[in-house]
């Protein structure tokens, strides 16, 4: 029960985190109207995953291991690219908020907002197939015992609950600081997703170096413990990380953070608490 709960929690958190940060951003910039698009993206991903998972579980054909890993790994890398683009787009629009540029921003938002659907769909869909296959397996076991399915669903529910709490919490943060930190948060999360995708491709044998580990702390942080689960679910930190994963993480996070901080003009501005952006005058 607990173990299945933890799987549900981990997979749930991986999907929830990006969505929560995107949601908070939309609410903060007064674009609640775009929320349905975000949910549409999530909905599409969930529906496709569940349907596809059912097809593979009950249909005549299964998916070979390499194909499954390639889908998970490939989508993860696409998700990273999309989230990165999103973060920079946010950084730009955040600066022109409340200024006379507002109408322009909204015009631009409309174009990019379709991107929101895509980002949400890919962020959720990348792990969706694996989660769906896991859930269907739990559903199949329900004949003998409903515990696994219950545990898995509870895990997902708790992940969603934590996501909601985070969402509430994030909304309390003042605006300019909020933008910097959600951006930083998204970049760190995306770095984890990238490492995860690399690992999947290594397992499928598409990328080399599966057995050259940069570090292995699985003795200290067992993957089946609750804290191991949380670290994996939020930061995608794997206790046994290969050099290629670690390298990709560093090569992504460091330069992207640098450019992001630079794009934000400077360090987080002094809290002003209102929507007036300190850099509105400095058109980029």
């Amino acid at each position: 029960m607990t173990a299945n709960f933890l799987i549900g929690l981990r997979e749930g958190l991986e999907a929830t985190l990006v969505v929560v940060l995107l949601m908070a951003y939309l609410v903060k910039t007064g674009r609640r109207s775009l929320l349905p698009r975000l949910w549409a993206g999530v909905g599409i991903a969930v529906a496709v995953s569940i349907a596809f998972g059912a097809l593979l579980t009950f249909g005549p054909q299964g998916l070979t291991f390499a194909a499954q890993e390639a889908i998970g790994g490939g989508l993860s890398i696409v998700a990273v690219a999309l989230v990165t683009w999103m973060v920079f787009w946010m950084a730009r629009t955040a600066r022109s908020l409340g200024g006379e540029l507002k109408s322009q921003v909204d015009k631009m938002a409309d174009g990019a907002a379709w991107g929101l659907v895509l980002v949400a769909a890919v962020a959720v869909g990348r792990e969706g197939l694996e989660t769906a296959l896991f859930l269907w397996a739990a559903a199949q076991a329900a004949g003998e015992s409903s515990q696994p399915l219950l545990g898995a669903l509870l895990g997902l529910a708790v992940a969603a609950g934590l996501g909601y709490l985070l969402h509430r919490g994030v909304l309390k943060v003042n605006l300019s600081r909020f933008f910097t930190w959600t951006g930083v948060g998204l970049i760190v999360v995306a770095g984890g997703v990238l490492a995860y995708g690399i690992h999947d491709l290594q397992e499928a044998g598409i990328l080399p170096g599966l057995h050259s580990l940069a570090f292995d702390v699985s003795a200290a942080i067992p993957r089946s413990s609750w804290y191991g689960t949380l670290l994996k679910g939020t930061l995608n930190l794997s206790p046994a990380t290969t050099w290629l994963e670690a390298g990709a993480w560093l090569l992504y996070v460091i330069p992207v953070l640098y450019f992001y901080i630079r794009a934000n003009g400077s360090a987080p501005a002094k809290s002003s608490g209102n929507a007036a952006a300190p850099h509105a005058a400095k058109a980029a």
Binding site: M1, A3, N4, L6, I7, E11, T57, G59, P60, Q61, G62, L63, T64, F65, A66, A67, Q68, A70, I71, T84, W85, F88, W89, A91, R92, Q104, K107, M108, D110, G111, A112, W114, G115, L118, E130, L133, F134, A137, A138, Q140, A141, E144, S145, Q147, P148, G151, A152, E203, A204, G205, L210, H211, S218, A219, P222, R223, S224, P239, A240, A263
Partner: protein, 398 residues
């Protein structure tokens, strides 16, 4: 360009892009499909292979199945999350895995596995090396749809051969160091003893080594083949010094040390370069043929080891190298031309049996001890093998 404003036009553009991407993904996904072996029949095995994972055990219902699409149903009867892996024989390469098997769950793994030896592993608690056991896939002979995935078989063969080359190179580097130490120190008897055995690692992978045009002459030039003005270094320089002909002036200690140092440096360089060598099925096929030609040209005539007369060691190593290349390609070749594969098998065996006649202890008879008839016999078998072997590349690649 991150953050570029995207006008309406571009969003239309992006949607069609997404559509194209989705359309492209469908065949990719379908290509990764495999039959869920739920019905007995095609595979002669009734349904999936049952695996039960507990805290201390990893029970696999059978240790041997016919090749084709294998389907494992992995049931977790422990209390921790478990994972199941099907690993290649080396225990490193993942052939297939299924993660997130919570307690009480059964999850399926579908893999396509050619005949060979494998390792199964359950990882209760998702860490460590897991509970492993040997697993064998026998040749079913009937070609399932994916079994016909010829390219995959060829690729797997190339990978296997690359591993063999790596292993031989490593042994060559280690062996060469030991030989060079003994030779430089003037320990003639030890150096003589190591000479032929160490060279075997070189001879086994000769085509790969020869692909580096600059290293081959430095390491393996014979006195008779030297160009005017070419400095003579490498194995045969040491050979002449260790097995001196009448009237030969021995090298000084300093000269010996120089040859030894150079030999080790060149061999290490060779080791470094082979790691990045790109192998392919045609290189394997041609390499096997080259090795046999090498035997016919140099070993049968006794020219290679003109002073040490250890030609049979080289002979055996060349045959080894050719045979491993052929065997790596065999699964692929069997699909294309089973008759050729069979004929090669027989001729390799015949030659090997004849070579065995001259084996003594760890090594072989010296070549100058063989009678003309015996040499003739070997030459005839080499020629008999060379003929079908020359068809190997075209059979596999075309």
């Amino acid at each position: 360009m991150p953050g570029t404003p995207l006008p309406k036009m571009a969003s239309r553009h992006r949607k069609s892009l997404a559509l194209v991407a989705a359309a492209a993904a469908v065949p990719l996904v379908l290509a990764g499909c495999a039959d869920n072996a739920k019905t007995p029949g095609s595979n002669a095995s009734a349904g999936p292979i049952q695996v039960t994972s507990t805290k201390t055990e990893c029970k696999v219902s059978t240790g041997s199945v016919p090749s084709g699409n294998l389907s494992f149903a992995v049931k977790n009867e422990g209390t921790e999350i478990t994972e199941f892996y099907l690993l290649a024989e080396d225990g490193l390469r993942i052939v297939g895995e299924v993660e997130n098997i919570g307690p009480g769950l059964t999850r399926n793994l579908v893999v396509t596995a050619p005949a060979g030896k494998y390792t199964t592993a359950c990882k209760p608690g998702m860490q460590g090396d897991g509970i492993r056991s040997a697993f064998e896939v026998t040749d079913s002979g009937n070609k399932t749809a994916v079994d016909a995935d010829f390219q995959k078989l060829a690729d797997t063969g190339v990978q296997q051969y690359a591993a063999y080359v790596k292993d031989q190179t490593e042994q060559l580097v280690t062996g060469t160091k030991a030989f060079a130490d003994a030779y430089a120190a003037g320990d003639t008897s030890k150096a003589r003893e190591l000479y032929a055995a160490t060279r075997m690692h070189w001879e086994r992978i000769e085509p790969v080594a020869e692909s580096f045009g600059d290293l081959d002459p430095k390491l393996d030039a014979r006195e008779a083949d030297l160009e005017p003005g070419q400095e003579w270094t490498g194995w045969h320089r040491a050979e002449k010094d260790l097995f001196p002909p009448a009237g030969y002036t021995a090298l000084t200690a300093a000269e010996r040390a120089k040859i030894a140092t150079q030999l080790v440096a060149d061999t290490e360089e060779l080791g470094k370069r082979t790691r990045t060598v790109e192998l392919s099925a045609d290189k394997l096929g041609n390499g096997a043929k080259e090795l046999l030609d090498e035997v016919a040209r140099g070993k049968v005539t006794g020219e290679e080891e003109i002073w040490s007369h250890t030609d049979l060691w080289d002979f055996q190593a060349n045959v080894d190298g050719a045979r491993i290349a052929f065997e790596s390609l065999k699964p692929a070749l069997t699909q294309k031309d089973a008759a050729l594969a069979k004929s090669l098998d027989e001729k390799f065996s015949a030659l090997q049996a004849e070579l065995k006649k001259h084996a003594t202890g760890d090594g072989f008879a010296y070549y100058n001890e063989l009678s003309a008839t015996e040499v003739q016999q070997l030459a005839a078998l080499v020629d008999a093998l060379g003929e079908p072997l020359s068809k190997l590349t075209s059979a596999v690649v075309l």
